[in-house]
Amino acid sequence: MTETTENARQAQRKAAMAVLAHSDAADIMGRLDAVALPAHENLREPENGLVMVRGRIGGDGAPFNLGEATVSRAAVRLSTGEVGFGYTLGRDRQKARMIALCDAMLQSDQFAGAVESGVIAPLRAAMVANRNRDAAETAATRVDFYTLVRGEG
């Protein structure tokens, strides 16, 4: 596989992970239930942990430690060998496992299409719809302040 296609695949996996991390576990499960799943096993048992969230001084300067966040992670291997990784904020280990499973399937020529169209695409559409709704609500609070000139000049 060339470097370009490798990068493209990594970008696709990352984009899918972002959608899944933003989705509710129940919604992911609902979508996965409708897809034929390959045989797989846990390569890393789903587990909880913490990450230290970093910000930047002034927003764009040197990093500093803001505070921690709970995360869950898992790794899944398909019987055909593909290994997928799942990471998400929060303590839902099953969600991390489902993300890992989707990630593994995305790397399989046999299953990538099904998981992309059956799971990722509809969840992405829901995520975008949520964001657009939030953005529209937010936009309604945009103001035009104007300063009043006092007196004559």
Partner: protein, 367 residues
């Protein structure tokens, strides 16, 4: 010295049982759920996450419920929980410039690219108690407008283009980011450590210090250059995957304070800045934090340290409400042995005092 006492186990057990009963309150009143706390007391949850230094809404809601609404107790519970989980590592630094903004205002420019967006705010409310809320009132759905695709650069970035404001300090290559949860504080402390300390610091303490600096105890002439609140994406470099994986989004508030000038014979004067960042919608906290971040830069900016808000050892040693409450509240634990020894000493001193007072009279009587 604190000498431990034993006993009282049954009383302690029964006291905790009584606490659980009181926490539940009148059993004819429905119990509050974690979802209700998280959704309807959301700013309290944000504060517990920020000062508990752990982003997890559900855990913060549980802590608030368990602590009967006592915020510092809830923060204490969250801090203690952190110790039960392993840390996988640190995230990539979040980019607040790419925030999905829910609120963004500037008190320095009215026409900023991307606009002024009020979002959900208490500002401009009349602070009159609303009896409707006591009666199961259902609010209207929010109004909607046309969202703009325009970028929302940080206001400080706009000022920075003309050199009117000092740039943010750049990362020093190969130097580790300070972490006060791993190494005890020592002074002087660098700005990364100071910001970590301020981020988890008690809001009331920072509010009072920031206020004191505005009133003249320390040099501060600030403008709120920008306050923004919204969701930022978090990524974590996962060794096993071999790339930075997305973890999801977290809500953050950021405050950029713009302060009066520094300059020198070789450098043109420019605005200086203070920075605040916190989990959730924590506006008062980040504004106070940014004020105190700026006052604590006195040493770096060659300003005379004359006020508490400029004294980093004073501020950083007293900002943590879990440490503070531990030391203040330990006073209520049994100190019987200590107190007995002080009583003994006091009785001895009083006896000596009485003897000294009697002694001259005896002398007079003898003459």
């Amino acid at each position: 010295m604190y000498v431990a006492v034993k006993g009282g186990e049954r009383a302690i057990e029964n006291a905790h049982r009584l606490l659980a009963h009181e926490r539940r309150g009148d059993r004819d009143v429905p119990e509050v759920s974690l979802d209700q706390i998280s959704e309807q007391l959301s700013l309290g949850v944000d504060r517990v996450m920020t000062e508990g230094s752990l982003y997890d809404r559900e855990l913060a809601a549980l802590a608030i419920k368990q602590a009967r609404g006592d915020m510092i107790e809830a923060i204490f519970l969250v801090r203690a929980f952190r110790a039960t989980l392993p840390r996988f590592g640190a995230t990539e630094p979040v980019d607040t410039g790419e925030m999905q903004v829910r609120r963004r205002i500037s008190s320095t420019f009215k026409d900023i690219p991307g606009g002024q967006i009020l979002g959900p705010t208490f500002d401009y409310t009349h602070r009159l108690l609303d009896p409707q809320l006591a009666e199961g009132w259902v609010p209207e759905p929010p109004a909607t407008g046309e969202a703009s695709a325009a970028a929302m650069p940080r206001v400080t970035d706009i000022l920075g283009r003309d050199g009117l404001i000092e740039p943010s300090p750049e990362a020093v290559a190969d130097s580790a980011v300070g972490d006060l949860t791993r190494e005890p504080l020592s002074f002087p402390a660098d700005r990364d450590l100071r910001l970590q300390n301020l981020a988890r610091a008690d809001e009331g303490f920072l509010l009072a210090l920031g206020y004191s600096s505005q009133r003249g105890y320390g040099r501060n002439h600030p403008f709120a250059g920008e306050i923004r609140f919204g969701v930022v994406e978090v990524e974590f470099f996962a060794e096993d995957a071999g790339f930075a994986v997305p973890l999801g989004g977290i809500a953050l508030t950021e405050c950029q304070m713009v302060n009066q000038f520094k300059g020198s014979a070789s450098e043109a004067p420019c605005f200086t800045r203070g920075y605040g960042l916190a989990f959730g919608q924590s506006e008062r906290k980040t504004m106070s934090m940014a004020l105190v971040d700026r006052t604590l830069r006195a040493r770096e900016l060659a300003e005379e340290v004359v006020a508490p808000a400029q004294d980093e050892e004073f501020v950083m040693s007293h900002s943590d409400n879990v440490q503070a409450t531990g030391f203040v509240e330990h006073l209520k634990l049994p100190h019987y042995v200590d107190f007995q020894s002080e009583l003994g000493l006091l009785r001895k001193l009083r006896k000596e005092f009485a003897e000294a007072a009697e002694a001259p009279e005896m002398q007079e009587a003898a003459e």
